[in-house]
């Protein structure tokens, strides 16, 4: 029945005679309180105090022990967490201790003016006198207790099991508690503290280690990993490996056995609503809307076109009419007539006419007359070109210059066109050639293409990396996340900085020869800032080639997928992925035995002390030498007790460990306490019920007479 609180108020307090002792097992994790002579404690709760604020009234209240967590929703617990009166296994905070005792006595049903019962309370082995004295002071002065006795929990547990016949009167007790583990030897039923030893590792460290490991592994679920939950996980899943090295190798190989040993904790998870593909109706509706819109656009374009045609036709008619009129008019009147219409010459009217008719034809969608037609008239158009300059008047010269310019531009245009045509032809030819190659051996062709693509894209990638950021190329050497100035600059900028610094600090070595050679001056060109983005403007041939190949690959290879796109997007921005059930799982593999292993290897958590198995050796060595017989007697009665001994595999591991440090043939017997958690209280209860118990106590009279310091010499006898 570990870790279940029992906090109902008892009603039979007044039925106990004042001589009946109250027994308290004051453990670092649990506080157990009850009547001497009974088999089970009456009140059990976690040895913690919380001082939260009530959310509505704002007053600070004291809450002792663990309660239904649902009730704590009325309180603001953010300011103060649970606090313990213990540091390591020593009580030091007596204000908290007082709250705990208040609560304990209150739940035991105490209702008189003082606690009029002797008290037996447990403490750690070799408790500092200061702590013991303060505890006595508290019990005597605040509660009016008539007498107090202090005992060690592990010793009570050993004695209890000795009484049950599980272990002998000479033996060892291995007790692993919440914050510390002890090995205490017993000779003739009395603990030998001279030979005991303590390692500051216990259940707290195991749970804390597990909690830290999981929260480092699953930072997203940190809010779910409360102390209580991790404690629960520890108790449910942790075990002690018979041999850590071989067990871990099992997991490293990923055997089936390891898989079976892996446990999984599924966190509450509701699948996000899956996006349903749109229904057919929806698709049809959308298509209809789209079609409608495009229809409207087309209609609008049509209307615009027809209105333009109309306009042009009108203009053409006007011009035709004008030309008709011109035929009838005398030559000398033409100029004035035209001026009234806004034209200067007949030629202009004609050209306007041609222009309008041409654009009309274009608007109607007819073939535009080819330019050769224009070329026919070229000879007349450039009629002045072939005539030498000196035969021409000033006006004609001007005209000639214009004609020369026009001619050269048209010719250049034509040349460019011809070139384009040639290139197209060339490309067509190339394509044909490639197609032929492909048809000859499609697979090989594809392979070649792919290889080329890969090579090119890698080359480009490399260049891009170099250009944008140096530190990728250097192999990601800034783990700390800090980026120095050098790493922020790109390659060109860094080169510039280097040149500048060398120029600035390159002094002193002999004569300054700068400028003797012409190349020296090139330095300034390199330094100039314009140099930086030189290659950005350059049209990149490789890039074009890559684009070409990739488009070609896309055409002929159905499996082709643009590497640069997929690769870059996958590495730079992880694509959004719907969360799955697996994302809400906490996997316990190696952690299951790695965490309790700290009991045997405290150096896992940086504590430089021996583990449980070695402690036995230390303890035996510390014994006053009474011969080999005693040591053998001891190892044949090793009792394991305390909450951290509940792990499966504990006894086997201890036996193996102790066998290693003891001589061959040593009798070793590991015995598990009947109830490793409750035995200390039961032993204490049985002890306090004995008639001789009052002789072992320290009374209030003694306290006032002899003072706290007497407690230094206080020695408790377990065999009475």
């Amino acid at each position: 029945m570990p870790f279940i609180s029992q906090i109902e108020r008892q009603s039979d307090y007044s039925s106990f005679h004042p001589s009946r002792p109250i027994v308290i097992d004051n453990g670092a994790s649990y506080f157990r309180l009850g009547w001497a002579g009974e088999t089970d404690p009456r009140v059990i709760f976690r040895n913690i105090v919380q001082r939260p604020r009530h959310k509505i009234t704002g007053e600070t209240v004291t809450v002792v022990g663990d309660h239904n967590p649902a009730l704590l929703k009325y309180f603001d617990c953010t300011r103060s967490g649970p606090r313990s009166a213990f540091e390591s296994n020593v009580v030091y905070q007596f204000e908290i201790m007082e709250y705990i005792l208040d609560f304990g006595f209150d739940r035991l049903g105490a209702d008189q003016s003082q606690i009029d019962h002797p008290i037996l309370i447990t403490e750690c082995a070799c408790n500092p006198v200061q702590s013991r004295g303060k505890m006595a002071e508290l019990l005597f002065e605040s509660y009016g207790v008539p007498s107090v006795a202090f005992g060690v929990d592990a010793a009570f547990s050993y004695k209890y099991n000795q009484k049950l016949g599980i272990c002998n009167d000479t033996g060892l007790a291995i007790s692993s508690g919440f914050t510390t583990s002890h090995v205490i030897p017993f000779i003739n039923g009395e603990p030998v503290y001279e030979a005991c030893c303590r390692t500051n590792v216990g259940g707290y460290h195991v749970t804390d280690y597990l909690k830290q490991l999981i929260s480092l592994k699953y930072p997203h679920h940190i809010s779910k990993l409360t102390w209580e939950k991790v404690e629960e996980l520890k108790m449910e899943h942790c075990y002690i490996a018979a041999d850590y090295a071989s067990e871990v190798q099992l997991f490293q190989r990923g055997d089936k056995e390891a898989e079976e040993k892996t446990r999984c904790w599924q966190l509450p998870w509701t699948p996000s609503p899956a996006e349903e593909p749109p229904s057919e109706e929806e698709i049809a509706r959308k298509a209809a809307v789209k079609e409608k819109q495009s229809q409207r656009l087309r209609e609008m374009a049509e209307a615009k076109r027809s209105s333009k045609i109309n306009e042009l036709e009108n203009e053409l008619k006007g011009l035709e009419f004008l030309l008709e009129e011109l035929k009838d008019i005398e030559d000398d009147e033409i100029v004035s007539f035209l001026a009234s219409r806004g034209y200067t010459s007949k030629r202009e009217v004609e050209s306007a006419f041609a222009k309008v008719s041409q654009s009309l034809r274009k608007a109607k969608g007819e073939q535009v007359p080819s330019e050769e037609k224009v070329d026919v008239s070229a000879v007349e158009k450039y009629y002045l070109i072939d005539i030498p300059d000196d035969e021409l008047s000033a006006e004609q010269l001007k005209e000639k210059r214009r004609q020369v310019f026009l001619k050269s531009t048209t010719e250049a245009r034509q040349r460019a066109k011809q070139k384009r045509l040639d290139e197209e032809l060339e490309k067509e030819k190339e394509k044909k050639l490639e197609e032929q190659k492909r048809l000859e051996n499609p697979e090989r062709y594809l392979e070649q293409l792919r290889a080329k693509y890969k090579e090119l894209s890698e080359k480009l990638e490399q260049r891009k990396r170099l250009k944008t950021n140096g530190n990728h190329a250097n192999g990601n050497n800034n783990v700390s996340g800090g980026v120095g100035r050098g790493e922020r600059l790109n390659a060109a900028q860094r080169e510039r900085m280097r040149l500048l610094t060398t120029a600035a600090f390159d002094r002193g070595k002999g004569e300054d020869t700068f400028g003797q050679r012409d190349e020296d001056w090139q330095l300034y060109k390199l330094m100039s800032r314009d140099n930086d983005d030189d290659d950005d403007d350059k049209p990149d041939q490789d890039e074009a080639e890559l684009a070409h190949i990739s488009s070609r690959l896309q055409e002929i290879d159905p499996t082709f997928f643009r590497g640069s796109e997929s690769g870059a997007s996958a590495s730079e921005t992880p694509r959004f992925r719907p969360l799955t059930k697996e994302d809400f799982q906490i996997i316990l593999g190696v952690e299951r035995f790695r965490c309790p292993e700290v009991l045997f290897n405290p150096n896992f958590i940086g504590i430089d002390q021996s583990g449980l198995d070695e402690m036995v050796g230390v303890s035996l060595r510390r014994l006053p030498t009474w011969g080999q017989g005693l040591e053998d007697k001891m190892t044949s009665s090793i009792l394991v007790t305390g909450g951290s001994c509940l792990y499966p595999g504990m006894a086997e591991r201890l036996e193996a460990g102790i066998r290693m440090i003891r001589p061959c043939g040593t009798p070793i017997k590991i015995l598990r306490a009947t109830d490793p958690i409750m035995d200390a209280w039961r032993g204490a209860s049985a002890y306090a019920a004995a008639i001789e118990f009052p002789q072992q106590t320290f009374s209030r009279m003694d306290y006032y007479e002899k003072g706290e310091d007497w407690l230094r010499r206080y020695k408790f006898r377990y065999t009475i």
């Binding site: 208040d102 209702d111 002065e141 503290y193 005991c196 303590r198 090295a245 940086g606 430089d608 002390q609």
Partner: protein, 124 residues
Amino acid sequence: MEREVMEAELVLPTHMKFKKIQMYDKYPKGQARGRHWKHLKQIIQAENYENYPPELPTYVNIETPPSMHPGKKICDITGFEAPYFDPRTKLRYANTEVFKVIRSLSNDYVQRYLALRNAAVVLK
């Protein structure tokens, strides 16, 4: 106070009938005096254990000495046996995959892993 809280008697009453001195008298509100508690280190120092005969068991001398065996070196991330040590992060690691992981960890996480075995850099 809510009814269910009252029923569970969650809150410790300030006045206890069975006590000779009540908490509110012993530790008056707003007064820090008498509330200072020596920490374990200070308690041990005040005990002056060095004046005691060495054969007398005390809280300090019953402590277990360091292990006689060389400490097992395990991978800080996976718990596997760790033959390697990364000089940059000071983490121990088992294989190349773990190495990849530790080199991608942020400094914060590295320090937290180191703190697990009490090896983190502590600035004072």
